[in-house]
């Protein structure tokens, strides 16, 4: 454990580290075992979701803003994927959302570009049922990391106690018949 009680700056740092890389906040606080568990338990659903859904539609705020918001719980991963989404392929995130919503058709593009866009729509866009599984995995990955961030902040503030330590203490006092 790093130290009994951290300063506000250290608490914020633990939270930001956990947001950038799952488990990094705990690692920095000295909880190496928990850091490894959190890293695997958040990274697995997140990168699993990316592998199943691909970045083009799965990390795209113009296609599904609520999913993107949930994914931002794992801020470092999501930002990386969003940058990848922007720079790879012929169709940008906003344009892809317009095409998928049917507000514009591929026929409105010149021939040479239409071929590239059609190729991208068939090769890089996930459809049902893969898109559903990817969304669930990514949303769970992002939201689980919010818990991890809260836990890192709580452990920094209390000198190592978990985020739900009041609940754990209450359960312990019920079993022993007194306050712990």
């Amino acid at each position: 454990m790093k130290q009994p009680q951290a300063t506000t700056g250290q608490v914020v740092q633990a939270g930001i580290l956990a947001w950038i890389l799952p488990g990094a906040g705990h690692y920095w606080l000295g909880h190496r075992g928990l850091a490894a568990v959190f890293f695997v338990a958040v990274s697995l659903p997140f990168w699993g979701g990316i592998a199943i859904g691909g970045v083009k539609t799965s990390v795209n705020p113009f296609v599904n803003k609520w999913l993107f918001l949930a994914e931002m719980g794992s801020g470092g991963y999501t930002s990386l994927c969003y940058v990848l989404n922007h720079y790879v392929g012929e169709v940008g995130p906003r344009e892809l959302a317009v095409l998928l919503a049917g507000k514009k058709t591929v026929d409105s593009y010149p021939d040479h570009r239409r071929v590239q866009i059609e190729k991208e729509l068939t090769g890089m866009v996930a459809y049902y049922p893969e898109s559903d599984v990817a969304q669930i995995y990514l949303a769970v990955g992002g939201l689980l990391n919010l818990l991890v961030i809260l836990d890192a902040i709580a452990r920094a503030q209390t000198g190592g106690l978990p985020v739900f330590h009041h609940e754990v203490s209450a359960a312990g006092s019920e079993q022993t018949g007194g306050p712990t």
């Binding site: 075992g33 959190f38 592998a51 859904g53 893969e130 990817a134 769970v140 991890v148 739900f164 609940e167």
Partner: protein
């Protein structure tokens, strides 16, 4: 299969993987295990407490989900029977 690094990255992050038929249901299990690990992790003082508690929570989640599925199926069958 010899893949170049960019091909491997493209396969992993750009081109969606195809799930085998029937795999969707089983995708629930690793997700439930991750949820159990994080849930228990936020209640543990050290990582040593985690394995047993995580497995127990995982079993609870799976049993709970099976019961919910059975209840939903029963309700669905009942509605079909009534109509």
């Amino acid at each position: 299969m010899n893949l170049l690094p960019d091909e491997l990255l493209g396969m992993l992050f750009l081109h969606p993987l195809k799930l085998p038929a029937g795999a969707r249901l089983w995708m629930f299990l690793p997700l439930a295990m991750c949820i159990a690990a994080v849930y228990r992790g936020t209640r543990a003082r050290t990582a040593r407490e985690l394995p047993r508690a995580t497995v127990l929570t995982f079993i609870h989640i799976v049993i709970g989900m099976i019961l919910i599925a059975l209840a939903a199926y029963a309700l669905h069958a009942l509605v079909l029977w009534w109509s």
